[in-house]
Subunit: 216 residues, 2 copies
DNA sequence: CTCATTCGGGAACGGTGTTCGCGAACACCG
DNA sequence: CGGTGTTCGCGAACACCGTTCCCGAATGAG
């Protein structure tokens, strides 16, 4: 054990006292809690309380908190409704659009996707679909797998900065200070040039990146 | 306060007992500790012990642990040695190449860059340089700023997965299982097709993404 | 009914970030 | 020199945290 992911350490069954809950129930409770109060609130004690049980009991279903986080991520990935076959670019864009939607619905997701890229059953299904969308594409396997990774990471990173208004405010505060200090001419020109900075749209950005990666 | 970043909450001075340490010293101790034992080891108590002092003392230099993490990130960004003026693509590639090198030297950096994108003085200098490199480029300001964000996020994400061998192993273990189960034809074809999957190189990937984003 | 086996979970261990408050150390002022 | 205002250092405490131990309870099999 150690190099073996959560999903392979399934519950054996048969003899003994039957469990009162399931891994899915624990995962759902954790997701509900994270949706309501953020990732930081997902502690073993809080999740257990959500289920009306004790913290130690959770370790019957999960080896560690990190395992639970992986389960949460993969569980959400079950909600992808994959697009019908068609040209690859619109197909991948739709996947990204849905990913962004999932992350907006679960504001804790981007952080998990970025810091622990764990492929569970649903994540694997998604990868399979992406490979199917790219089936006719001439790029080699390595590049396709990389496109998948870049898609996910970029969607998460862009959605995260989109959601984290606190960070944007602090950033703005410091940039304003830097401009006022006067030692950053290009930055000053960029930030004071006429209208408020036009923000590129998510789909446009992802689209350009994908085209750059996989060709027209 | 709250929307005001660490760097603007500078130490006022003059009267009173002089401080025995400096913010820079605290930051350096935290970086040394993180380099040696990882980000998880950077607790207020451990950093304080590194300096031979008590945990509570650190709060004279920093408002919270998160502030300290931001200081660490920005401090490392001081090490960029910016390329001489020239065509924009090689210039940006050099910036990314150096970013990757910094992240390999400080394995805790990618996580911080991905989850808390805080621009401090050195990060702002870097942004200024990137804007200078792009000074002659016809793209509008929004797209240039976005290119900066994408560059950073992608460099961090790629370097992180490069460094995190544990995750790659677990991933491999589960993918092997999925292939064995037989319900993922494209995935199976991709993973069993001839030689080991050819991994695209970092600079090539970043280059394609930048060209997609900013044009040839 | 016995028994191996599993589950539930209170209690405890060794951590964590942060706050409180007090004594000490200094710069300035009279 | 003696206050005095102000800051610094930091032990102690608070409210948590993840995880492990261990024992009693529950169960299905024989």
């Amino acid at each position: 054990m150690g190099a073996v992911p959560v999903w392979l350490r399934e519950r054996r069954s048969g003899v003994g006292r039957p469990a009162e809950r399931s891994r899915a129930e624990v995962t759902a409770a954790a997701i509900a809690l994270a949706d309501r109060e953020g990732l930081a609130a997902v502690s073993m004690r809080r999740v257990a309380a959500e289920l009306g049980t004790g913290a130690a009991s959770l370790y019957r279903y999960v080896d560690s908190r990190d395992d639970l986080l992986d389960l949460m991520t993969d569980e959400v990935a079950a909600a992808y409704e994959l697009p019908p076959p068609g040209p690859w670019l619109p197909g991948l864009l739709e996947v990204c659009r849905q990913g962004r939607e999932l992350m907006r619905r679960h504001a804790w997701l981007p952080e998990l996707v970025l810091t622990r890229s764990a492929l569970g059953p649903h994540g694997t299904d998604l990868l399979e679909q992406v490979l199917e969308i790219l089936a006719g594409h001439p790029a080699d396997v390595g590049r396709k797998l990389e496109a998948f990774a870049v898609m996910n990471a970029l969607t998460a990173a862009l959605t995260l900065s989109e959601l984290d208004v606190g960070a944007r405010q602090r950033q703005g505060a410091y940039l304003a200070h830097a401009v006022a200090a006067g030692r950053h001419p290009h930055l000053t020109a960029a930030l004071t040039g006429g209208s408020p900075v036009p923000a590129p749209h998510f789909e446009d950005t992802i689209s350009r990146v994908l085209v750059g990666l996989l060709g027209e």
